[in-house]
């Protein structure tokens, strides 16, 4: 699709509701910047382009992505260890390269998510297998922390109890205890 203003290749697609009608507008990067579309709160695009009184502007999720990612920041050279995706790639395609990207570009993710969804924390279903793994990993982390503390404070009786508990969880999970955990 081409930019509605200058005819160059459009990068930003915007949907607005104007007087009950849905208006779709396509803009190239330059025109989008010039018209201030990259500021998701401060524009009335339909009014500007179509000469009508707009309703409340509706920012599409994609638009929010465009705005947040285009909005500058540092660390241009950063690269995802999972897939080689860079921050430049993110700015260009506004999508991610792999699951690890969400860790690599955590800061950018958080910025992008502002205002995109109803919330920023998942409240839905969890894969059955991962739920167990997730809970187990957390429990083991906690027990190992306490074990370290017990050893440091020479509380050997408690340490032995904790060690047994850790072993049991590991046996239940894999069938064998990790040898590194043995004294």
């Amino acid at each position: 699709m081409d930019c509605d203003i200058c005819g160059k290749k459009a990068k930003v697609h915007l949907t607005q509701l104007v007087g009950g009608q849905i208006k779709k507008i396509a803009l190239c990067d330059d025109c989008a910047k010039e018209k201030g579309v990259t500021d998701p709160t401060g524009f009335a695009l339909a009014e500007m382009l179509l000469g009508k009184t707009p309703g409340k502007p509706v920012v599409t999720a994609q638009q929010a992505v465009a705005a947040q990612v285009g909005g500058g920041g540092s660390g241009v050279g950063r690269r995802c260890p999972g897939c080689g995706f860079t921050l430049d790639d993110l700015r260009r395609i506004r999508r991610f390269g792999c699951a690890t990207c969400y860790v690599t570009f955590k800061e950018e993710v958080n910025a992008m998510l502002r205002g995109m969804h109803k919330g920023t924390k998942h409240c839905g279903k969890v894969p059955a297998g991962l739920m167990e793994l997730h809970e187990r990993t957390q429990r083991l982390e906690e027990l190992r922390g306490r074990l370290d503390q017990a050893i440091t404070s020479e509380n050997y009786e408690e340490a032995a109890g904790l060690r047994d508990e850790i072993r049991q969880i590991e046996i239940r999970a894999t069938g064998t205890p990790k040898t590194s955990e043995s004294p």
Partner: protein
């Protein structure tokens, strides 16, 4: 494995409203986006990586109980008309049809569950049902999802939920939508207000055909936009409530039109009937708009109730790729318009002219068979 021609031969139940009331809400659709942990997302993956992902996904998907004897094809092995037919049936997305190597579609025999492999995400799963049945569609897809989790390592983060290529799908990865036929709201100029209200609570509304401002055939799709921060249950409940409200508005608008301006309604339906029965050249836009009114006539008692079903089948069959599949060859736009008119005429051959008089007399009972 099921062949393409076998898959396409019959319309799915959800296309003709079999076993459900689909007069206003035609279909309910659920989509879930899922990805594999440790594999690049399809749009970023190199060709070999896409291949490898497909080799992991495909056996798992084909082993699903619902996919017994299913249709399963790599998109590269389908020609452009076949791909377009699947798009017109909403079984794959336009984006998916455009992807080549390493992408595949696995479609259940009754076309009610369709999985796209290596679309924008590794897995895009869809369930469609006739009428208002988002819940049933969700339940059937959730079962598929849980089945696949047994054999696949799905990318998931306890904070962000299911990880997707585009952050607009994070969290539940759930897009629920319904297709609504709203001719009376359009005829009575109330559609703007209604859509604005729907939009205001964060739901998206778009026309079924075309990206433009107008909706062809008075068909609209309502869907959730937000996928993160709410449970599947909350998302579905809100959509169900809003869709039911819009459907009630449409029902009231139909009753009111009939009461206030029966002459206008009769004229619209009569003209639609005349054109569809006697046109020799008709483009899709004109056909869709007249079929929409004929469909309304079927519901209001001007035409037999089965007219609704005939219209639904035609909505699918008059689309460009379906016409080319029907003719067995590529068609120029002009040829399509003649063949489209021919199919419509043939299907409506036995349809009697709208019964205007009896609808004028009719009381509350919309579907009294004696009046038809």
């Amino acid at each position: 494995m099921m062949r393409f021609t076998t898959l396409i031969k019959n319309p799915a139940d959800w296309m003709t409203g079999e076993g459900a009331d689909n007069t206003i809400v035609l279909t309910s659709r659920i989509r879930l986006a899922r990805n594999l942990r440790g594999e690049s997302f399809p749009g970023w993956a190199k060709k070999e990586q896409r291949r490898r992902t497909l080799e992991i996904l495909r056996p798992a998907v084909e082993a699903l109980p619902c996919m017994k004897d299913a249709f399963s094809q790599e998109l590269d092995d389908l020609n452009s008309v076949q791909k377009q037919v699947l798009v017109e049936r909403h079984l794959i997305s336009r984006e998916h049809a455009a992807r080549g190597e390493g992408s595949a579609a696995v479609i259940e025999r009754r076309q009610s569950i369709a999985l796209m492999l290596n679309e924008e995400d590794h897995l895009r799963m869809q369930a469609i049902r006739p009428g208002m049945s988002l819940r049933a569609a969700y339940d059937s897809l959730a079962a598929v999802d849980e089945e696949l989790e047994q054999s696949l390592e799905i990318a998931f983060d306890h904070e962000l939920g299911y990880l997707t290529t585009c952050p607009t799908n994070l969290g539940t990865g759930l897009r629920a939508s319904a297709m609504l036929h709203l001719p009376a709201l359009v005829l009575s100029d109330q559609i703007g207000q209604v859509l604005q209200a729907v939009n205001k609570i964060g739901l998206a509304v778009r026309g079924l055909y075309g990206e433009g401002t107008e909706s062809l055939g008075n068909l609209f799709q309502i869907s959730n936009q937000s996928t993160l921060g709410e449970s599947e249950e909350t998302i579905l409940r809100r959509l169900e409530r809003v869709i039911a409200q819009v459907a009630t508005h449409e029902r009231n608008a139909r009753d009111k039109l009939l009461e206030d301006d029966p002459e206008m309604v009769s004229d619209k339906i009569g003209r639609a009937y005349g054109v569809l029965r006697h046109a020799w050249i008709i483009d899709s836009k004109e056909a869709l708009n007249h079929l929409s009114l004929l469909r309304l006539g079927g519901d209001l008692g001007f035409l037999p109730n089965e007219t609704v079903k005939s219209c639904d089948a035609l909505l699918m069959d008059i689309q460009p790729a379906h016409l080319q599949l029907h003719s067995g060859r590529k068609l120029s736009p002009e040829e399509r318009d003649s063949i489209r008119a021919e199919i419509v005429r043939t299907r409506l051959q036995t349809l009697q002219a709208p019964d205007i008089r009896s609808t004028r007399k009719k009381d509350e009972d919309d579907q009294n068979p004696e009046m038809l």
